[in-house]
């Protein structure tokens, strides 16, 4: 292998410059690795360290080692548990909604129809928009006085974002609207890969549409659908922009919003680093569960 990597074609330009394959490989890889170490790995390790200190970036005071105190404080804070509960509820509503809507749209589009390409492109527009912009215009759509949603649903002056119970649903609805196309796109790719002869065989066997869906379509699309769910769950856990813009309700304070306030408004750097690590552990754990299911689905 080393021989392959270092051997140069005698007439190549690299040989003329004296660069071996190994040098060229290093030339490409080292800047990337350096960039990753400086901007990803180092902050990750440094923030792990600050998570065990009382460091506040707003002061010149040195960071003191406090052991697990930050983690203890966070895990015994009822507000933090409330943030986690709210986020969990939000993720379930949002991802479930996206899977239902996205997969439903994919099923509809997975059949011959006029202007299919144009319709698919138009359906994908929401996820191409900036989440901040989406938040701002949904705020207008939800407006109780002139919002189009109340007008169409005939809800009078219903206050979507002022109602503590409804606000989270309203924020999740925006996420569903924005990211269902993503699930749709992946599902469409999965659906188009299902061999047609399986459907023909099912038809010959007089299998009903439900049987065909649950025995052929869903099992074969499941792995790719699971990937979509993994991505969307991870992203939903990190939701900040549109939720921050849409509502001030404590009932919509997702963990990313709480983390932002703790780190950049309250400047509790040590505590917020510990918080970020707790969030990271939760996301990794959930992702692992999904990956396990994904592997099972693939094995089937």
């Amino acid at each position: 292998m080393a021989d392959v990597m270092t051997r140069l074609e005698p007439n190549s330009r690299a040989a003329a410059r004296g660069l071996s394959d190994l040098s060229i490989r290093n030339l490409f890889i080292i800047p990337t690795i350096t960039f990753l170490i400086v901007f990803n790995v180092f902050p990750l390790i440094y923030s792990l360290y600050t998570g065990f200190t009382d460091y506040r970036a707003s002061t010149t005071a040195p960071a003191n080692w406090v052991g697990l105190a930050n983690f203890r404080e966070l895990l015994s804070d009822p507000f933090i548990w409330r943030n986690f509960t709210i986020t969990a509820k939000y993720v379930v509503i949002s991802v479930t909604g996206q899977v239902i809507v996205g997969f439903g749209l994919a099923m509809l589009l997975n059949r011959p129809m006029a202007l299919k390409g144009l319709i698919t492109t138009l359906l994908m527009l929401p996820m191409m928009l900036s989440p901040a912009v989406v938040g701002l215009f949904w705020k207008l759509l939800y407006d109780p006085s002139f919002g189009i949603i109340n007008y169409f649903l005939g809800l009078g002056k219903f206050e979507w974002l002022a109602d503590p119970q409804m606000a989270l649903w309203a924020v999740a609805m925006v996420d569903i609207w924005m990211w269902s196309p993503f699930v749709m796109l992946l599902s469409l790719a999965g659906l188009s890969a299902v061999p047609k002869h399986l459907y023909e065989a099912a038809e010959i066997d007089r299998a009903g549409p439900f049987y065909t869906f649950f025995r052929i379509t869903l099992p074969l699309v499941a792995p790719i659908l699971m990937i979509a769910i993994i991505f969307r769950t991870m992203e939903a856990f990190k939701t900040f922009d549109h939720a921050y813009i849409l509502s001030s309700q404590p009932t919509t304070e997702l963990i990313a919003i709480r983390l932002y306030k703790m780190a950049f408004l309250e400047w509790q750097t040590g505590l917020s680093s510990a918080f970020a690590y707790i969030v990271l552990i939760v996301v990794v754990a959930i992702t692992n569960i999904y990956v396990k299911y994904l592997n099972k689905a693939k094995a089937r």
Binding site: A57, S58, T59, T60, A61, F79, Y142, D143, P144, S145, K157, E159, L161, A162, D163, P164, Y244, S247, S248, Q249, P250, T251, E253, K261, F264, L265, E266, W267, Q268
Partner: protein
């Protein structure tokens, strides 16, 4: 010979090009993006004309202001020589070593008397009553009220109001009247509402709004000398004040659940509300016909008194401080010496800035300069502020989390909210060793 001439010319060119860089002086002041920052830029242009020193007022949106300022402080950055920072920052910025100690400057220029006492107390001094000063009061501000004169002066409305409440319809002088008038004008079927108040809990909007009720009802946030909160923040007066604020929320326009200064001015410009709470600094837009079609019909009044006659308002505004990491501190001190001059403060007020300069504030000329200056003058001598301790943001977060669900969502009672908040604040003060 020819080569020598060329060398001489090149040398002269280098000197000529480098000369301006060597002698020109520049100062940068950082502030939030709003009209007073533009007025300050106009003012400092005059400083440049006078001294040749270029002063730039760099701004950032309000939502970003605190984060950007402290990020720069934390990096020990020298991008800003001076900063017009919020009063709550005094503790964090002084204890963090980010502000230059201005005590000597303050005493030398007798600023304790030159500036209005409340502005010195809240914009400049930290800790309270310590005699240590970190800022020069720059933009005095407090919460006042705008109202629709044409609605108030409509004979039919006046008659109906008197018949219902038994006294004349006029700008309220008490919170009881404020509630009556808000209720009277609250007519959702006519798309007309009673009042616009602050409800945004992203930063300090909601808490500043509630403070107007709290202070005028004779309540306090706590004891600043002992940091005792329990029994003060959750006193009967505070409970009554929070109940009053919640009641006011019931008379706001629909969708008033995340509102601050922009929305509250819109309540007047878009014919939504009879009265609107806002900082005086945002009132110039309401007397300008270009930005307010109801400018001719907009009046102003100071925050009304509470049941026992106490009358206070929540403090806004900022002081100007020298950043510790500035490389131009000497020049910044010279600028401040210019800024506190009587004639400059007068000019600052003329341009639209809210001077904290006592002599200018008290002058007839200032008080009659705009329809709201009289209310501003009255207010600036009876203002109170939020905690200025370094952990103020944590106190603010707890207040937002406790108060918002009650005011906007109607969850729990005022007593439960304030008891819980008193407990949260006590825990925070214990965490930072302010109380045992």
């Amino acid at each position: 010979m020819h080569r020598q001439v060329c060398r001489l010319m090149a040398g002269a060119a280098v000197i000529a090009l480098s000369a301006p860089a060597a002698y020109s002086q520049e100062l940068t002041i950082f502030w939030a993006e709003w009209d007073p920052a533009n007025y300050l830029q106009e003012l400092v242009n005059e400083y440049e004309a006078e001294t040749g020193v270029t002063v730039t007022v760099e701004t950032t949106p309000w939502q970003d202001f605190q984060t950007k300022a402290f990020t720069e402080f934390n990096a020990r950055g020298s991008a800003y020589d001076m900063i017009v920072g919020d009063s709550q920052w005094l503790g964090a910025a002084s204890e963090g070593g980010h502000y230059v100690d201005l005590t000597e400057f303050f005493q030398k220029h007798n600023l304790g008397e030159v500036m209005a006492p409340a502005t010195v107390k809240y914009y400049a001094e930290y800790p309270g009553n310590s005699g240590k000063y970190w800022a020069i009061p720059a933009e005095g501000d407090a919460v006042g009220w705008a109202y629709r004169k044409d609605w108030f002066e409509d004979p039919a409305e006046m008659e109906a109001f008197k018949a219902k409440y038994g006294y004349d319809l006029a700008p309220p002088t008490t919170w009881a009247q404020l509630l009556d008038i808000a209720e009277f004008f609250h007519r959702p079927d006519q798309n007309r509402y009673g009042v616009a108040i602050y409800t945004d809990n992203s930063y300090d909007g909601l808490v500043m709004g509630v403070e107007n009720a709290l202070f005028s009802y004779g309540a306090e946030l706590g004891d600043p000398s002992t940091y005792q909160v329990d029994g003060i923040l959750n006193s009967d007066k505070a409970v009554a004040a929070l109940d009053a604020y919640r009641k006011l929320y019931g008379f706001t326009p629909p969708g008033w659940s995340k509102t601050f200064f922009v929305e509250n001015n819109q309540a007047i410009t878009e014919n939504l509300a009879a009265m609107s709470m806002n900082y005086f600094a945002f009132f110039p837009a309401l007397v300008n016909p270009a930005t307010n079609p109801n400018a001719a019909n907009t009046g102003f009044f100071a925050n009304p008194a509470g049941p026992d006659g106490d009358q206070f308002a929540a403090l806004g505004g900022q002081g100007i401080s020298i950043v510790s990491y500035s490389e131009n501190q000497e020049e910044a001190f010279k600028f401040l010496e210019w800024f506190i001059r009587d004639d400059v403060q007068k000019r600052w007020a003329e341009l639209g800035g809210y001077t904290a300069h006592a002599k200018t504030l008290e002058s007839e000329e200032f008080r009659k300069a705009t329809p709201y200056n009289e209310a501003f003058f009255q207010t600036m001598f009876k203002v109170k502020d939020f905690w200025a301790v370094p952990e103020y943001a944590e106190l603010l977060t707890a207040a937002n989390q406790r108060i918002y669900p009650f005011v906007v969502g109607g969850e729990g009672t005022a007593k439960e909210v304030l008891d819980a908040l008193a407990n949260d604040w006590t825990e925070t003060f214990k965490k930072y060793g302010r109380i045992k």
